[in-house]
Subunit: 356 residues, 2 copies
Amino acid sequence: MSAPVTITPLSGIPEVREGDDLVTVIGLGLTASGLRLADGDVLVVSSKIASKALGLVTHDPDKDRVVAGETEYVVAERSVGDRITRIVRAKAGPIMAAAGVDGSNTGRRGGWLLLPHDPDAVCAHVHDAILERHGVRVGVVLSDTAGRAWRVGQVDFALGAHGVRVVDDLRGGTDADGRPLEVTTRALADEIASAADLAKGKAEAVPAALVRGLGRFVLTAGDEPLEAHPRGRDLVRTGPGDWFGYGRVEAVRASLGIEPGSEVAERVGIAPVHGDSRLEAVARATQAALHGVESGTADIGHVSVTLGADGPYELGILTARLCSALWCEWLVGEPQTPAADGLSVVVGVSGRLDGH
Amino acid sequence: MSAPVTITPLSGIPEVREGDDLVTVIGLGLTASGLRLADGDVLVVSSKIASKALGLVTHDPDKDRVVAGETEYVVAERSVGDRITRIVRAKAGPIMAAAGVDGSNTGRRGGWLLLPHDPDAVCAHVHDAILERHGVRVGVVLSDTAGRAWRVGQVDFALGAHGVRVVDDLRGGTDADGRPLEVTTRALADEIASAADLAKGKAEAVPAALVRGLGRFVLTAGDEPLEAHPRGRDLVRTGPGDWFGYGRVEAVRASLGIEPGSEVAERVGIAPVHGDSRLEAVARATQAALHGVESGTADIGHVSVTLGADGPYELGILTARLCSALWCEWLVGEPQTPAADGLSVVVGVSGRLDGH
């Protein structure tokens, strides 16, 4: 039988400044909360106080530039007024909006907090310092907050981890009836981060929580070296194993040579978060089609686009590109028969009713 | 200050059978665990026992057919041997693998467990029965397990909810320093489900947990009607607001008229989970290009594909389609100059090094 799990928020942690020692400030929180660390505890620390202690703050007023500096590559993007909001693979590891660059709760001086690029190392430092000073082995999770594909709202997840199993691998396991388990790998560290968030809250600026009752997942001396166990970074899925490395719109545009996050993408135009008019959507799709077809021309209307090119082969390329690009805008292109000279074609445009 | 949160697994729940009353079996678990429900508690119940009680089981040996019956539409798909594994929008609401159809822990008779199509109604029933029989107002979350885009492993999430705030909307709120909060909507119900999973475990078949300390999120008599509050279904994000309604591969193929989950997609070929040879990938991309270009022909090689068509316009369409389809396979197509008669072109094929 599993035992109860208890999550206690660590209040009484003062505002953290650059150069502060994380284990010391966490110790203040433990004392204020009347707690003493024990073997098998899991300590969940908000990335925010780690970033503050490490001085990972910038006062560059241009948030987009700050985000670009923290970005490996762009997964999806939408325009919001004269800015662009991007979901990116962050240098810190995960795929998240704005690379985790955060302007709230940054302390009295403001600015943008950046995520540590090696969050597991931050956890290892906390883990080792606690072992050295307090003589106890705890799991450490560095938590951050992110939105998800397919679901509303944000949850906390494990940006980093050390000394705790980040996955509970049940592959090869059987259920209570002896049949193979269909769910094979539980993302424990993410569930721990989410659980801690319930106790920590967001607005109250409680930056850490102590989780008790998960000792079976905390690695012990016999599990050395801890670095060899999967950690926070290993919870990030990228490459062909991730089927969602581009947004639906960005995948199609990238297949047309328009990579998200590129100057080309901005020149072609980036769809606004809240939608725009049919004519603007058709114009954006047409710009995407024209990209890379040097001789291409287009006359854009509400219900059709008339395409032109130097020759019928180029016209065919342009037409196929437009049909793909219209799909990105929840529109359907239906090419009519090209003109007799093969140098122009009318592509009818209609709305798509069945889109997801 | 936030109070501690305690999660207690409800052991002692017997195997649930069709027709069993959920509130009665949960009551057995509470008694066995020495617990008594109180106002402000949140009860997290695994969908599995709800499905069993409702008799949502089928013994059709063809899992793919069972999944298709529980599917609204397909988001992404890969072949695994002679089967196809699909991430779909389930009739139960969320986007999840195999529509949540589950063959483990299904009880002694086996079969496939299906998810209830109105999980919030299941929660409402439990909520109301507890209020009637025990006179207490608890939040009820029906939990299930799913993988995520971008991250390794599965977590529990709120398939359904009633009587508890599913989101903590902080929009318009300010941080401890008075600046607007960047994280605006916490998906509370999902975090509650994840937290409960830590206590319940997977292999042990503990199908429910009691969460204490979140009373501030439990709706009270003054919050009637509870149905008007966001519930589990409202945590599902679909349509243009979801930027990941198709996988990267499926988006491009859909833009070429090859919708995931369709017979056309199967005929064109579905990429295997674990990758295949360059030649197989090129062949699949070529089949996708040929779809809908009636006069198209192709001669497929390792480093190039020679395309042919009745006329140069059709050849252009075919060429553009091939370049898009090759992108799906992490390949790049580079068309050479078409033949003098405009009826054939060689498209060079190379690997893409920078893909995500």
